[in-house]
Structure formats: C-alpha cells, structure tokens
Amino acid sequence: MSDLYEFVAKFDELSYLFAAFSAVWLVIFLYAVSISRRQRALAKEVQLLRKLLDEQPSRPSR
C-alpha cells in the first residue's frame, strides 16, 4: 500500500513537471508561429504594393 502511495505521489509531482515543460515549449512555439505567420503576410503585402507601384503609370510633367 505504501508503494502505491509513493507511486501516486511521484506521478503527481511528475505531472506538474510535465505541465511546466509543456507550457514552456508551447508558449515559445505558439509565439514563434504567430510571428512567422504575420511576417509571411506582411512580406506578401510588401510585394503586392511594390508591384502596384511599379505598374502605376507615371504622371505626365506639366
């Protein structure tokens, strides 16, 4: 019975340890993914705007 109690106590501690490490990896990973996504969207918009500006006809001089 004491072995079972010890097993449950250790499992409980390890679950906190697992939760802490998972939290660290998850938070860093999610933040990195969110920045990368935003960066890809911004880079596309930059390309589009540059293309639009290049295609715009230049105004005739007066």
Binding site: A23, V27, I28, A32, I35, S36, L53, Q56, R59
Partner: protein, 236 residues
C-alpha cells in the same frame, strides 16, 4: 555608366542576415535539446524537493530573459527619446513582447512548482507580487502599442513607461532580502546543477535573440508597408 554599389551591398547584407537567422534557429533548437537532455538525464534529483525541482532550470533562465527583454526596452526607449530613430523604437516594442513571453513563463512555471512544494498555487510573497507587477507594467506597454495609433507621440509615452517600468526589476531582485517571504533564496548549488542551469540559460538566450530578430523584422516590414501605402496614395 556609373556603378551602384549600394544595392549589391544591401543584397549581400540581406543574405548574411538570412544565413545568420537560419544558423541562430538551428543553434536554438540544438541548445534547447541539449538543455532538455541535461535536465532529464544528467542533473541529479534534488534530495528534498524531488523531481519537481527540475522546473527551476527553466524557471530561472525564463526570469533572466524577461529581465533582459525589459532592460532592452528601457535602453532602446531611452535611445528613442534621445535620438527619435524609428529603428530603436521597433527594438523596444519587440523586446517588450519577448520580455512579456518570458515573464509569462515565469508566472506559469512558478505556480506549477509551488503547488506540490508549498501546497498552494499562489501566495502574495514579495517576490511573486513584484513579478506580477512587472508583468502588468509591460502588459500595459504592449497593449498601448497594439491598440493606440502608431504615432510618434504614442511611441514617446510608451518609451517613458518602458523606462519607468524597469525600476521594478532591482526591487524584485532584492525583495527576498528586504521583506519576509517564502520564495527560495539563492543558495550554492552542486557543479552539475550549475552547469545545467548555465546550459539552459544559453539555450534561452538563443531563443530570445531568435524571437527578437523575428519580431523586429516583422515590425520593419510593417513600417515598409505604411511607407509604400503613402507612396501609392501620393501617386494617385
């Protein structure tokens, strides 16, 4: 026909930057794996606290990176107030976000350690309270930058907040000596634990720099878009 060295130099610099970013990404990955290996396979289990003590090897480096981020905010904000350069403002803004990420990790991992050791998730211990105050100050900074208009006035107000907020860090650091609390004090550690802690710190520094470069890059792209939009409107 005159030569134009600057576009070529700019392209070369961009290529170097791209290679450095990739190298840093791989280095961060390897360093984090090494840190995990040391925490779970190398470092001995602490006699009193048991396996849950291993949270310390990520909790403390996360706190150091939060401080690094917020000190960067303060330094870049001071430089922005002095010189008015947009690039240092971008650095301040990015560093605030990254600092917030790591400060959030401190406030997540701390209670996960505290619950099995102290029996409670949270207590109004001086160090814990000051860490929460620090998180709130820079949360205000990040929200201000995210929700207000992106003008120089807002950037200046935020810079002042970024500089004042950093005063919390030395207070937080000495809080365990100034006031009575239950947060563990710094004690001498065995060499294996010190080495593991330093490897984790190096891994976190790599991740910090990686994230900072990514975020500064996206802020730079955002500014470029604003400039191109103004150009497009002017051309109409």
């Amino acid at each position: 026909m005159t030569s134009r060295p600057y576009p070529a130099a700019a392209r070369a610099l961009r290529r170097v930057g791209y290679l450095a970013d990739n190298l840093l990404l791989w280095l961060s990955g390897v360093a984090m794996l090494a840190a995990l290996a040391m925490v779970f396979l190398y470092v001995p289990t602490e006699r009193v606290q048991g396996p849950v003590q291993r949270i310390f090897y990520f909790h403390l480096p996360a706190a150091w990176m939060a401080f690094l981020g917020f000190f960067t905010v303060a330094g870049a904000s001071a430089a922005f107030l002095w010189q008015g350069k947009r690039s240092v403002d971008r650095l301040a803004r990015a560093a605030a976000e990254i600092g917030m990420v790591f400060c959030s990790l401190v406030l997540l991992t701390g209670p996960l350690w505290a619950r099995p050791i102290w029996g409670v998730w949270w207590t109004w211990d001086p160090r814990l309270t000051m860490t929460l105050v620090l998180w709130l100050i820079y949360a205000a900074y990040v929200l201000l930058r995210a929700l207000a208009d992106d003008t120089e006035t807002v950037a200046r107000y935020a810079a002042v907040l970024g500089i004042i907020g950093v005063i919390d860090i030395p207070i937080l650091y000495v809080s365990i000596h100034l006031w009575r609390g239950i947060h563990p004090k710094v004690e001498p550690l065995p060499p294996e634990m010190v080495l593991t802690l330093y490897v984790c710190a190096v891994a976190f520094v790599c991740v910090f720099v990686c994230l900072l470069r990514l975020r500064v890059g996206s802020l730079r792209l955002h500014d470029e878009i604003q400039a191109l939009r103004r150009q497009a409107l002017a051309a109409l």
